[in-house]
């Protein structure tokens, strides 16, 4: 069995929950051959994981930093040279431009026809197999067509030139993904319903391979949150929303199965019209032999947070809560484990720490190779996020028998059940109160910690997680056999 995993800004180049999920999946399913197609921002990123032996190929697609993306993939050299040597622009004018214009119209109009979008996308992919991508995007007729589309719309035509050019450049970059040569596989599995899924959609249309999507955070929701905070004008925000919506919807339209990591995500998928029959929640699982209670390690008044440093993880919420905790108990310390992925946000956190005078109590420790030790050292574990899928840090801490205090976002309430303390997001006062309660009440910590471990053993084991995915792969292929007529 050969499975292609499609990733965007995650494995194996960046750390985080999605990367951990993919690494665990590949390492656990030794009987499956994996191929990885990884979308990254630039060609200079270096893998942060040792790829397991059952990874047969890693195809990296840098969307920025190069225009010759094929050179970074396994594109057949003969075809590459032939394609570049096509000098005539007739094919581009007659074929590429009309397809691209129609595709763009579907993407920006707000209520796209996924059937038509698929046809145009497939058409473009076919054209780009023969014609050079760079030549296609240099065609004057193409840009005139795009300007015409925007001019005709009363809202989009009010967009600033700067925003318009930025969006065009981004769309141009997005289309790079159509030039990627795909490996021969049996099942396509995307780790996000986004741009990264487009090659899988084309492959499905071309060869009929089943397409599965696992949703961690809801991509569309996270993009909306990002746009809400951005300083773009209304017209470009609307354009972005429509583009995201069309890409996400197209992924769902083609997916044979959507596998959210929690029920919370399924709600958003329902909003896109994904039928409940197509959706199955598969919770993440942890290695309960590695993540287990270890006696004698627990330290007093130590809060441990395992999370990346970025806006969505809301480290500022933690810092402000810590200030309130320290007003009641000055001996409390907090250690934050995780990579800094947003440097400007990290600097903002440092400024806030200085303003509040809590610098002695909080330490940013960077990523840890032994999170099980840090959980066991903790008096309690906190996750202050604004948005989450089904975070490993929560179920790992639960498996270690720790009291977890977390914000009630994404799949966290489903993970914790009644075995931890939930607080609303962005509420430092309530988070501080919960932390103080947890620190002061040892009996509560012991009871909830023991319950949490039991809950993990019942619902969130690595064995169950792996078996579910092994079965889902075979199920997708079996359904194909059951549903198609005999030859």
């Amino acid at each position: 069995m050969r499975v292609l995993i499609l990733t965007e800004g995650t494995y194996p180049y960046y750390r985080g929950g999605v990367s951990t999920w993919i690494h665990n999946l590949i390492k656990g399913l030794q009987d499956v051959d994996f191929y990885i197609l990884s979308l990254v921002t630039n060609p200079f990123v270096k893998p942060l994981y040792n790829l397991p032996p059952n990874v047969k190929k890693l195809i990296t697609v840098p969307l920025w930093g190069t225009i010759w993306v094929e050179e970074y993939s396994s594109f057949p050299r003969g075809r590459l040279i032939r394609r570049r040597s096509v000098r005539s622009s007739t094919g581009v004018k007659d074929l590429f431009v009309p397809y691209f214009q129609e595709l763009l119209f579907e993407m920006i109009k707000g209520n796209p026809s996924y059937k038509r979008m698929s046809e145009y996308l497939y058409g473009l992919w076919n054209i780009l197999r023969e014609y050079d991508y760079r030549r296609a995007f240099r065609e004057r007729k193409l840009w005139s067509a795009i300007i015409q589309l925007v001019k005709e719309d009363p809202l989009y035509s009010a967009m600033s030139l700067r925003s318009f050019l930025r969006i065009l450049e981004a769309i141009k970059r997005m289309m790079l993904i159509l030039t990627v040569e795909m490996p021969e596989v049996d099942v396509l599995h995307s780790s996000v319903a986004s741009l990264g899924g487009l090659p899988a959609i084309i492959e499905k249309m071309d060869k009929g391979c089943p397409y599965l999507i696992t949703e961690h955070g809801v991509y569309y929701r996270e993009r909306l949150l990002e746009l809400m905070r951005s300083s773009e004008d209304l017209a470009s925000k609307t354009l972005w929303v429509n583009i995201y919506k069309s890409i996400v919807g197209l992924n769902y339209y083609h997916a044979d199965k959507v596998l959210p990591v929690c029920r919370f995500n399924a709600r958003w998928e329902g909003l896109f019209g994904v039928s409940t029959e197509k959706v199955e929640v598969i919770y993440n699982g942890v290695d309960v032999e590695r993540f287990k209670p270890l006696k004698g390690l627990e330290e007093e008044k130590l809060i441990v947070v395992v999370s990346r440093i970025e806006k969505l993880k809301d480290t500022l919420n933690l810092i402000e809560a810590l200030k309130l905790v320290l007003e009641e108990d000055s001996e409390v310390r907090c250690e934050v484990y995780g990579p800094i992925v947003d440097k400007s946000y990290y600097e903002l956190c440092l400024r806030r720490i200085k303003e509040l005078g809590v610098g002695d109590a909080i330490s940013f420790m960077g990523p840890t190779p032994r999170p099980e030790m840090e959980y066991n050292r903790a008096t309690l574990v906190v996750l202050p996020s604004l948005s989450e899928g089904f975070p490993y840090s929560v179920i790992e801490a639960m498996a270690c028998g720790k009291l977890v205090i977390a914000t009630s976002v994404g799949g966290i309430p489903e993970a914790l059940g009644d075995c931890g303390i939930l607080v609303p997001p962005r509420s430092p006062r309530l988070l501080a109160d919960a932390i103080l309660k947890g620190l002061r009440d040892e009996r509560l910590r012991r009871e909830l910690g023991a319950k949490a471990r039991k809950r993990v053993l019942r619902l969130f084991t690595k064995e169950r997680f792996l078996e579910d995915y092994r079965r889902v792969y075979v199920e997708a292929l079996s359904n194909l056999k059951f549903d198609t007529p005999c030859l």
Binding site: R2, D186, P260, R263, L271, E277, V281, R471, F482
Partner: protein, 156 residues
């Protein structure tokens, strides 16, 4: 950037992919007898290793390609038997997978004309779901995460 893990020798490349990949390739090229042969070899190999899920899939694939109905029915039965074995094997680890395995076995038995066997499998599905109090974790009906917009002066 393409990273070839353990770059293969030419001998390995020729033998690449095992029986499953060869079967899929033969099927794609329309060489059905060859495809059936490779699917059966793959099924036998996986069955020997106790990987019943994969052997069931290979028997099912071979059954689909076998044009002679008697042979096809026999292969559907084998596929059903292996889905059943798989369901038994994983019932404690992943009840959802066991339930799916039983359903797949039932589908195979129906194609093999073994209605009683199929019925037994479906009864086991109900019993298992009831015993575990398991409802499949499906998606929920669409509920808008946004509050509905009410313009000035709108009713309700």
């Amino acid at each position: 950037m393409v990273i070839f893990k353990n770059r293969e020798s030419w001998v390995e490349r020729i033998a690449k992919g095992g029986y499953w990949a060869k079967a899929v390739e033969a099927e794609r090229r329309g060489r059905l007898d060859e495809a059936i042969k490779f699917y059966l070899l793959d099924a036998a190999e996986n069955s020997r290793k106790g990987r019943y899920l994969y052997s069931a899939l290979s028997y099912l694939s071979a059954a689909k390609l076998a044009k002679e109905s008697k042979k096809s029915k026999g292969l559907y039965k084998l596929a059903g038997d292996h889905y059943l074995k798989y369901a038994r094997k994983v019932v404690n680890t992943s009840p959802a997978s066991a339930i799916w395995g039983l359903r797949a076995a039932a589908k195979c038995y129906i194609r093999a004309g073994l209605m009683e066997e199929a019925e037994k499998c479906l009864k086991k599905v109900s019993a298992l779901a009831e015993r575990l109090g398991l409802e499949e974790v499906k998606g929920e009906p669409a509920v808008s995460p946004f509050r509905p917009y009410k313009g000035k002066g709108s009713e309700g």
